[in-house]
């Protein structure tokens, strides 16, 4: 199989326009004959479902939550980028495109990123019209802030809850279509498999989480908007229920999985407090604008932070990166924190934490100014740790946060399975090997509102409507497979809670495939994962039955998939013997310890294709060409 990216011809700024003209259209009268399934109702899913319904398609939308408003897009705090140049500071579509390609460390597809930058301006218009309460200036116009080290102010925000407000906008648009009858909303449904007929995605199998019923749903195309897989690490900033199951099921039906090793570790999270920890909490990285990061110079220095004098503190980021200081990109900040803690300088009870100190900012600007900027974050920190960050420095540690890898898609956002689309964080995305701050919301909404609704039309126009029915034998067969798998899970009556096994997998992944990776470590992970998988199938405890709400069964199914997926992730990390963005191979670094790319050998997207059980997946390579942005080594010195 060859990966066809289907990037249109022509200069980069004309590609999307040309493509929109050359795509086939569905006759308005025929649109209602088509049915589209959208799995997931986060930013990407809800906006795609609402827009497709507006266009006239029938949409079946699915979420495993009790309401489409709860997807984890809701937790994004910082903001959303758009090349509006409202601040007159020299921003442009081209600059956003350039920043995103460079920030992604040259592992993304130029044409996609350019299109993302183009539609970013429409997103803000759309959301403002929907009533999203973006921050405003006294003149009534939209406010912006600079975010994540960008040199222009292009980030739009709604207090610390931009994700929630954007999701509510999309949810409201979706609700309108549900009321109009164009969207059938299926809450509490988990997608457990994709049904292929003649090689095309024609439906899905779901489990009703409340009744346990396994159901078939047929359509003319299937869209996956099922988010990322950070929970493979067990502890991450993702919501408890985020999982890889839908994408993994698609992979097993022939959709290639691209760059699974590209994961982002966010530097400013609250450190783990003990073994009971169920998830990690992220604090906006805007904290680094005023906070100074340090550890004691002496690893045996156990004095309280306030009693450690200035000369005994090591401000390692300021020392190592004099020009960017505490504002280096996420991957650099995270790796340095890990390096200090691994070397024994970490603070806090577990030794996995570094100080983020606001004392000098409070001294310079006053407590009130700091309160105005970060009051809600300080409150949240105090609520969780019972320490007052105005008095003692915060303790922070990096945590898995976002996954740039995902299902491989072409320019039309279609996977290698015809009729199966992937949008938002679920696809391998426009962020290359590192995502910039405030770009995830942008990509989710770009895919959902402005890209997929066009490109799916091109696919549908080439296919007869209503060609699939749940009576087809393919549905029956796939449903039986799902039932067999569910029976096997519910038959697990061992002694170990499934979460304990998940935690064990998470530790292996964090240590060997986390912030820094080595060939030896990855190989040892590849040995350990099958053992944990065996342990799971031999000894996990799944009490209760499958015929009703059974949360352990839900988790067990997701963990079973993580236990398979994690292998491909390590395989990918092992294969990519270079460092780029969030993927840091210790074998490949500059003399100063910075990530060293190998553009000669690895300037490609690595897409893994399922070959059957007990067989290694095949590696397909999509070469990445950089015609518009010159390849350079990132440097933040």
């Amino acid at each position: 199989m060859n990966l066809e990216s289907k990037v249109p011809e022509g200069p980069i700024q004309d590609k999307w326009d040309n493509h929109r003209f050359s795509m086939k259209l569905v006759n308005p009268a025929n649109k209602r004959k088509y049915r589209v399934i959208v799995v997931g109702t986060g930013l990407a899913g809800a906006s795609a479902a609402a827009t497709c319904a507006e266009l006239g398609y029938n949409v079946d939308a699915f979420t495993f939550h009790d309401s489409p408003r709860r997807a984890h897009s809701i937790a994004a705090q910082g903001g959303i980028n758009a090349a509006k140049n409202y601040q007159n500071d020299g921003d442009s579509i081209w600059r956003l495109f350039y920043d995103t390609v460079k920030g992604g460390d040259y592992r993304s597809r130029e044409a996609n990123v350019y299109r993302l930058s183009q539609v970013s301006v429409n997103i803000i218009d759309q959301c403002a019209a929907q009533g999203v309460p973006f921050a405003r200036e006294y003149g009534g116009l939209l406010a912006n802030r600079s975010f994540g080290g960008a040199q222009v102010s292009r980030t739009f925000y709604a207090r610390g809850q931009t994700g929630q407000q954007l999701l509510l906008g999309a949810y409201q648009a979706l609700s309108k279509e549900i009321a109009s009858g164009k969207v059938n909303m299926f809450n509490n449904r988990e997608m457990l498999d994709i049904v292929l007929i003649d090689g095309h995605a024609r439906g899905i199998i779901t489990r009703d989480l409340r009744t346990g019923e396994i159901e078939c749903h047929a359509a003319d195309a299937v869209v996956l908007a099922t988010g990322g897989y950070s929970n493979v690490y067990y502890l991450s900033t993702n919501a408890m229920n985020c999982n890889v199951t839908a994408a993994w099921r698609a992979y097993k039906r022939g959709a290639a999985f691209a760059n699974p090793c590209f994961t982002q570790i966010h530097p400013t999270c609250i450190p783990v407090s003990g073994d009971h920890q169920s998830k990690l909490t992220l604090m906006s990285e805007s904290l680094r604008n005023d906070g100074r990061i340090w550890v004691p110079k002496d690893k045996n220095d156990k004095r309280p932070a306030r009693e450690i004098p200035e000369e005994d503190r090591h401000y390692y980021l300021e020392e190592r990166y004099p020009s960017f200081g505490n504002l280096v990109p996420r991957d650099v900040a995270s790796r340095n924190a890990k390096e200090r803690c691994d070397a024994g300088y970490g603070v806090g009870a577990t030794g996995y934490g570094v100080y983020l100190d606001f004392a000098s900012a409070i001294g310079r600007l006053g407590k009130q100014a700091i309160k105005e900027r970060y009051g809600n974050l300080f409150e949240m920190y105090e609520r969780i740790t019972a320490e007052d960050p105005y008095e003692v420095p915060m303790r922070i540690f990096p945590a898995p946060h976002y996954t740039m890898g995902g299902l491989w898609v072409d320019y039309n956002l279609m996977t290698t399975v015809p009729g199966l689309f992937a949008i938002g964080e679920a696809n391998f995305s426009d962020h290359g090997s590192n995502r910039l701050g405030a770009s995830a919301l942008m990509q989710g909404l770009a895919d959902g509102y402005f890209i997929l609704p066009y490109t799916i039309g091109d696919y549908l126009a080439r296919n007869e409507p209503g060609s699939a029915s749940v009576d087809a034998k393919e549905f029956k067969e796939t449903k039986e497979e799902v039932e067999t798998r569910t029976d096997a899970l519910v038959a697990l009556k061992g002694k170990r809670p499934v979460d304990a096994i998940h935690r064990e997998l998470g530790r292996v992944m964090w240590n060997e495939c986390g912030m820094a990776r080595t060939a030896d470590g990855l190989q040892s992970a590849l040995k350990k994962i099958p053992q944990i998988r065996e342990e799971f199938w031999a000894n996990a405890s799944v009490p209760g039955s499958e015929g009703s709400l059974n949360q352990t069964l839900e988790r067990a199914g997701r963990i079973a998939d993580f236990l398979e997926f994690s292998e491909v992730m390590c395989l990918d990390a092992l294969n990519r013997n270079e460092s780029c963005g969030g993927h840091f191979r210790e074998e490949s670094q500059t003399p100063e310890g910075e990530a060293l790319r190998n553009d000669e050998e690895y300037s490609y997207a690595a897409a893994w294709l399922y070959q059957g059980p007990d067989k290694s997946p095949a590696l397909l390579k999509e070469p990445l060409q950089f015609e518009n942005v010159a390849l350079t080594q990132r440097s933040y010195k």
């Binding site: 009790d66 408003r69 809701i74 403002a128 019209a129 949810y171 009971h276 169920s278």
Partner: protein, 258 residues
């Protein structure tokens, strides 16, 4: 810490439920309340017993999934805090804790502590939106909005749809939720064309879901993890009165051509 828990267990919507007592030791004050329940559930799973069903997702206090009444308080004893952000240091060693699901006819129990809150979705579907066809929006800065109004709209929009207002209200009223959404959209110029229709439809849907009426107890705003003010209820009432009594929509008469 040692704790005695009385947890509401109910196998299904129509089954009889009751409190079950659990003794738990080795609870760390740094655990969140849900992590404490995770530990209890892991213990139950080790014994092959069905764990307590409770819902949670983001565990950052923003998704609105977690929902339980702890010692008679929706989301527990701390103000402006969801259960997932509540920590065990808010409790005493040896304390007895009662854990119950949201109680309202419109929120039937699904299992144990999980309830069905789809009534909220239906209230939004009735009119909690601004109709904007994708792609048809004007430039975002073409419509300046005074910061004060925009900020007030944001105050209302902060609602996370958890349902604590209903759970805390002795009348089982959903007016805080409904009024927050109506105010969020009604306070900004984009929301004006549909304002009358929206308030009518949403209030009617709220009534159809059999939520109770408001008697101004104020328990809802006290329980609200986002501190949403009951002054939005007054705003909704005003809007509703105007919509029903003053701006009654007449069927449009055709303008005769001359």
């Amino acid at each position: 810490m040692r704790l005695t828990l009385y947890v509401w267990r109910q196998p299904s919507a129509d089954a009889q439920g009751d409190f079950v007592k659990y003794d738990l030791s080795d609870v760390s004050p740094d655990m969140s309340f849900l992590e404490m329940l995770d530990v209890l559930n892991a213990n139950l799973e080790e014994l092959g017993k069905e764990p307590i069903v409770f819902e949670s997702d983001c565990r950052e206090g923003i998704c609105g999934t977690c929902s339980m009444v702890i010692n008679g308080r929706a989301h527990g004893p701390e103000s402006k805090t969801t259960v997932c952000q509540l920590h065990m240091r808010s409790f005493q060693d040896g304390e007895t804790i009662y854990i119950e699901p949201w109680r309202a006819r419109a929120f039937p129990v699904v299992k144990d502590l999980a309830v069905d809150r789809s009534a909220f979705d239906r209230i939004i579907q009735a009119g909690g939106y601004i109709s904007v066809r994708t792609g048809s929006a004007p430039d975002a800065n073409e419509m300046p909005i005074p910061k004060v109004e925009s900020d007030l709209s944001m105050d209302a929009a902060a609602c996370i749809g958890c349902g604590a207002c209903v759970a805390a209200c002795p009348n089982g009223s959903a007016m805080l939720f409904t009024s927050a959404k109506i105010s969020h959209l009604g306070l900004v110029p984009q929301g004006q064309p549909e304002r009358t229709k929206r308030v009518k439809k949403m209030v009617e849907q709220m009534d159809d879901e059999l939520f109770g009426s408001c008697t101004n107890y104020g328990e809802c705003q006290d329980a609200c993890p986002k501190g949403i003010s009951i002054s939005f209820i007054g705003r909704m009432n005003k809007d509703y009165m105007k919509a029903k009594l003053i701006e009654v929509e007449e069927p449009r008469k055709e303008v005769e051509s001359q």
